[in-house]
């Protein structure tokens, strides 16, 4: 199973088509929409999490491309706001890759961006909401 966050940009021509529905039916993908801004007759932007087998995710993304949807992976776009983080460690229990870990014996919480796959699991687990998903550094989804 593969869980990843993507940003999809829908051109206005395809907004009324059941694209996400097809992804579920044809490619056996589960999804979780984290943010969507779709206005009738205009371009739409959606932040979505796909859960499914790696090859299915790949096929699904190819399908999106065919439909004219631009796809951007969010990997590497998770950052920690060190002002907000109070070093509790709650996120270390949920991070699947070890990108968030406790340094012993001082119990400092270390964030290693290189290990982060942008699965997004830490975002809602963090009591201080210090883990932020950002798109190219200018769209702030945690706000």
């Amino acid at each position: 199973m593969n869980t990843r966050l993507y940003v999809l940009k829908f051109p206005k021509e395809v907004i009324d088509q059941p694209i996400i529905c097809n992804l579920v039916k044809k490619y056996d993908l589960q999804f979780n929409i984290l943010k969507a801004t779709i206005l009738m007759q205009q371009e739409g932007v959606m932040v979505i999490e796909f859960v499914g087998h790696k090859t299915n995710v790949k096929k699904g993304l190819a399908y999106l491309g065919e439909m004219g949807v631009t796809v951007q992976s969010l990997a590497g776009n998770i950052r920690r706001d060190d002002e907000k983080c109070y070093q509790c460690g709650a996120c270390t229990g949920i991070c699947p890759t070890g990108a968030l870990s406790l340094h012993r014996p001082d119990m400092a919480v270390v964030f290693d961006e290189d290990k982060c796959t942008a699965c997004g699991l830490c975002v809602s687990v963090c009591p201080a909401r210090a883990m932020e998903v950002s798109l190219n550094g200018n769209i702030d989804l945690a706000a």
Partner: protein, 389 residues
């Protein structure tokens, strides 16, 4: 003949603090000192041990007086940044509680709810100096004819704001697991099914009540570090239970003693009062508290010398047992084990994660140590200690 080899009074310790001669160490530093020198020698050397804890503490809030308007208003319902505050006190006095959600919060309708803003966040905004929108409505009386009021307030402009937390600083807390089939979201964090992770919430050897397990020096009037300012212990907290199961060293193996604390909100800082969102549970306030423990004799040195390896807690199932009042546990573990990152539950190795910040707890103990060393902070002898066993 005294029963103690070393005996000091609060007055003697304070005189040494005033003279800049007091020896102050943190509860972490005290572990090694007692181990190396023994309690009697440690008590001779050390005057004060500082403790600290920083974690979400739900039973928190503040009394706020927002001043009279012209024409006057007797507030009947009040909101701060759209979070309801309790107004059933007097014309312009309210209590804003940490776990109160925003008026239109979706709560757990889409489970698990996010609870991005609540009373705890209002308190953080106030201490950060940010503007907070105050809305009040009244029903109109002869002496208070005004029926509604809306204005922006800052902490500096408020005539009075007092943090009053009826239950903080729990002496020990459970280690939580989830033995059900589905993920649960609770105040102990996100717990995976089939007991695949465990969470815990105590600063262990740094935690205030672990260093004075029988409350010999803590009680009504004890001066403390509270939210970055100076506060006081003003009563035992709600649910204070001194009769919980104890180890031979006196530390409790279950949730036990609690403190009611208060202090002037205007002295506090957003670094030490932080609004938090517990997914699926609600909002709350992370509070920083540090209690100084006077080393009056070798007994207090022994208590403050306690280490993570000697403090135990029970493993509790939060999926069924906790919510149904089943008094059952799945074994006991020490804080040294919990902090190592894995424990054993039902014969399986389970990864652990903390909710209480040891880094911040240490910073509080060090800050309090600095305050005392600089002669800025004197110890207060409690008028009455907390109810004991």
């Amino acid at each position: 003949m005294s029963e103690y080899k070393v005996q000091k009074t609060y007055e003697e310790i304070n005189a040494r603090i005033r003279a800049g001669q007091a020896v102050v160490v943190t509860a972490e530093e005290m572990v090694g000192i007692v181990k190396k020198n023994g309690p009697v020698e440690a008590a001779r050397k050390v005057d004060v041990v500082t403790t600290g804890t920083f974690s979400p503490m739900c039973s928190s809030g503040a009394f706020v007086n927002f001043g009279h308007a012209n024409p006057t208003l007797k507030a009947w319902k009040v909101w701060l940044n759209n979070v309801p505050a309790y107004a059933g006190l007097a014309a312009v006095d309210v209590y804003i509680g940490a776990t109160e959600p925003t008026e239109e919060d979706p709560l757990n309708k889409v489970f698990p709810g996010e609870f991005l803003y609540g009373g705890g966040h209002v308190l953080e905004d106030l201490v950060a100096g940010r503007k907070v929108r105050l809305k009040a409505i009244g029903y109109g009386t002869d002496c208070y004819p005004n029926k509604s009021l809306e204005k922006e307030v800052t902490l500096a402009e408020l005539p009075y704001a007092l943090l009053v937390n009826p239950r903080n600083c729990y002496q020990n807390y459970n280690c939580a697991v989830n033995l059900s089939e589905r993920t649960i979201y609770c105040y102990m964090g996100t717990l995976k099914p089939h007991g695949r992770n465990a969470t815990y919430c105590s600063a262990g050897e740094l935690s205030p009540l672990m260093n004075d397990p029988f409350y010999k020096t803590i009680g009504l009037g004890t001066r403390i570090f509270l939210g970055g300012g100076v506060g006081y212990v003003t009563w035992h907290g709600s649910q204070h239970n001194p009769r919980a199961l104890r180890s031979e060293n006196g530390t409790t193996r279950r949730p036990a003693g609690t403190l009611m604390v208060q202090g002037d909100l205007k002295q506090m800082s957003p670094r030490w009062l932080k609004g938090v969102s517990m997914q699926g549970y609600g909002s709350s306030l992370a509070v920083g508290i540090g209690v100084p423990i006077p080393i009056l004799n070798e007994e207090m040195a022994t208590y403050t010398g306690v280490s993570d390896a000697e403090i135990f807690t029970q493993i509790v199932d939060y999926a069924y047992d906790y919510s149904h009042g089943v008094a059952r546990n799945y074994g006991e573990v020490s804080y040294a084990q919990l902090k190592s990152g894995q424990i054993e539950v039902n014969g399986k190795v389970v990864p652990t994660a903390p909710l209480s910040s040891v880094v911040r707890a240490r910073e509080i103990a060090l800050t309090l140590k600095e305050w005392i060393e600089a002669g800025r902070f004197l110890l207060e002898k409690p008028i009455q200690t907390l109810p004991g066993e």
